[in-house]
Symmetry: C2
Subunit: 400 residues, 2 copies
């Protein structure tokens, strides 16, 4: 029974044809209001199977049918690759001696004060007063980093791989309201160099494993949605990733002949157009940008104490096609530095526990996060992030 | 750097002592309002490290310090075992040919109408009207099953391992507001026997892997929190799990000399006291209870069409110490049966997409879910579920 692959095969190669061994259990036009909802949440009438045999539907069309699109060969391939990449990431960290931690999804931390949070309320007939299930306001996590730092103080090397959330009103091809992040924290790291080594290794090892474990699926993606991607990826894999400082990056942008919508200037965050230019400037090799202005980064980034142009030991990895893929840095492990930064942002009260981690035995440490969907976009050349996750959630859309 | 294990060792064996190589970066009594919150969310004053060297604090005491308790050897062991079990489960499914699926956390499905849901609202300064981020009411998932069924129609065997949520006002030692579930769906399964085989295999294979991969950690748990657990677990592992029908279970309970708070009766759900009795009655071997009354189970369970005592092909696994560990069953794959059940519950409109799965090529299939924290409680003999998860969330408590 478990070995029966007929359905799998049917799906893989004929995709939209119902398996010949098992006929649909009802006539195809019984009702007139069946089916999925369209982009604005209205119900779409589906009287017949909306995917045609041997027709190559645009990914945007398939997105309307999240319950059926996995039966096409292209979504089948993408989701199998997603599964392989998940396994590869778990085994990379396990083989490197990391402890896996389930950081919490519900949190009372308004982490980084980003303001783009989902807040929770208990719905329905429960006895706890609605607003007050946890006694404190509760949110969906935007990052497991601070919780991972708790754990890196006990297990040296830890990682998490789970969902994170942004209530951002963005319809861009790189943003989702619910997406997956791989985050790691490592004790006894005292240079960005060490961190970047792990990031590059993670990217390359995972990709090599995916390429060797599902070559057919990858080939199908390249053939139908990203011609030329094979060479672009090989180019990334065979070269050492580059490293430039934020200051150098701004210099490069200032010297560019291109006109940017946002004028590049020291102290201002890099925009998507800047990221794109930098990657192209670097010959389409992934490039680490390090040492950002202190004012641009959250309170926990380690102070570089470097004079007038005050920077922190933060690092982003920019990759072709996607832009920012990793973000990370060394964490401020020195109690008094951290205390001062928190006081300045009036966060001391909220982050007492985070200060405790420094009071009671702290070590130099650092970590990073990688957006999983962006990673898949990057290796497969998929243009829209909504096509590399089984059930995409974004403003105005939460199908199923 | 990555190889430095000094902190790890310090934690493992001396637990509460700061690593001698790295002194705390501040004096221990700088402030007087530092520290964690207590159970009712108030701030607890922590002036010195709250965990004493060589003292064995009760787990309940440690629960107040979620940011520090992982530095004790007992929580260290439990969380390392959790990490190993996570890896073991992933590799069990991968080796058995399952595709891993990230089922959505945010869903517009008020799945099963359970009513114990967390609802979401966008907070902060976003531009989408607050209540309306997704255009539809959005909740945290209570189960990934229905979404997995979508995928089992494409990939034959699929699994998910992620967080699930209940806004239940329960302070019991077996319930959390946020907990992890392993769920699987398998196509071409047409008997409960086949499903139960996978469930038993999953339990035993994962446990064997945990026991062989972290014997020291397991030994520490048995020594300090669950003496005798080693023998109890071996007893479970070396015996075949038992199978009784719901009807037999009720008969056994009726014949029992014990007085129950809830009188056992056919058609009424098994209570914790009943589950406990049944497991004991079965000689503390895990026991599958199958074929429950149709009225007790959700609309998607497959109708057994068995006359006056109308049952469905549902199965629960009861284990010593914990009670219900797995729940599962065959799914109603027949269009007209499902349509009728949905119509009776006035759910037809909402589950059009679920009916679509049957209209457009359906096969016999089934699946199950296992509570991950309960699994850890069961193998380790940990009494309270709050001690097997890094950051427990329950009514009135969302620390950090």
């Amino acid at each position: 029974m478990l070995g029966a692959r007929c359905l799998l095969r049917a799906v893989r190669f004929c995709s939209s044809v119902p398996c010949p061994r098992h006929k649909p259990s009802a006539k195809l036009s019984v009702r007139d209001t069946l089916g999925a909802q369209n982009m604005s949440g209205e119900r779409v009438t589906v009287q017949t199977f909306p995917i045609r045999y041997k027709e190559r539907h645009p990914l945007e069309y398939l997105r309307q049918y999240p319950h059926l699109r996995c039966r096409t060969n292209i979504l089948g391939s993408i989701l199998r690759i997603r599964s392989e990449a998940t396994a590869a990431i778990h085994s990379f960290f396990k083989d490197s001696g990391f402890v896996h931690i389930h950081t919490p999804i519900i949190t009372s931390n308004d982490c980084e004060g980003a303001g783009e949070l989902f807040q929770l309320h208990a719905a329905g007939k429960i006895k706890v007063p609605e607003e007050n299930f946890f006694n404190v306001p509760a949110y969906l996590t935007v990052s497991g980093q601070l919780h991972l730092e708790v754990m890196s103080g006990a297990f040296t090397q830890v990682f998490t791989f789970g969902p994170t959330f942004r209530a951002e009103n963005s319809q861009s091809r790189r943003h989702l309201a619910e997406f997956y992040m791989i985050e790691a924290e490592i004790s006894f790291v005292d240079s960005l160099q060490d961190l970047m080594q792990v990031m590059e290794k993670l990217f390359k090892a995972t990709t090599m494993m995916v390429l060797s474990n599902c070559p057919e699926d990858v080939k199908l993606c390249y053939k139908f949605i990203a011609p030329g991607q094979k060479d672009r990826l090989e180019h990334m894999l065979k070269n050492n990733f580059l490293i430039i400082s934020y200051t150098e990056a701004v210099e490069i942008l200032k010297r560019a002949s291109q006109n940017f919508t946002f004028t590049p200037e020291w102290g201002i965050d890099l925009q998507t157009e800047h990221e794109k230019y930098l990657v192209k400037h670097c010959g389409n090799i992934p490039v680490f940008v390090i040492n950002y202005p202190l004012a641009l980064k959250p309170f926990y980034m380690r102070d570089n104490e470097d004079g007038p142009q005050h920077t922190v030991a933060a690092v982003d990895l920019l990759v072709p096609g996607v832009g920012e893929l990793f973000g990370g840095g060394l964490r401020e492990e020195r109690y008094h530095f951290l205390e001062e930064r928190l006081a300045r942002s009036r966060l001391t009260e909220v982050y007492q526990w985070y200060l405790d981690l420094r009071r009671f035995g702290s070590v130099p440490h650092g970590g990073f996060g990688m957006g999983f969907e962006r990673y898949l976009q990057c290796i497969l050349g998929v243009d829209n992030i909504k096509d590399v996750i089984p059930f995409p959630r974004f403003p105005h859309s939460c199908l199923l």
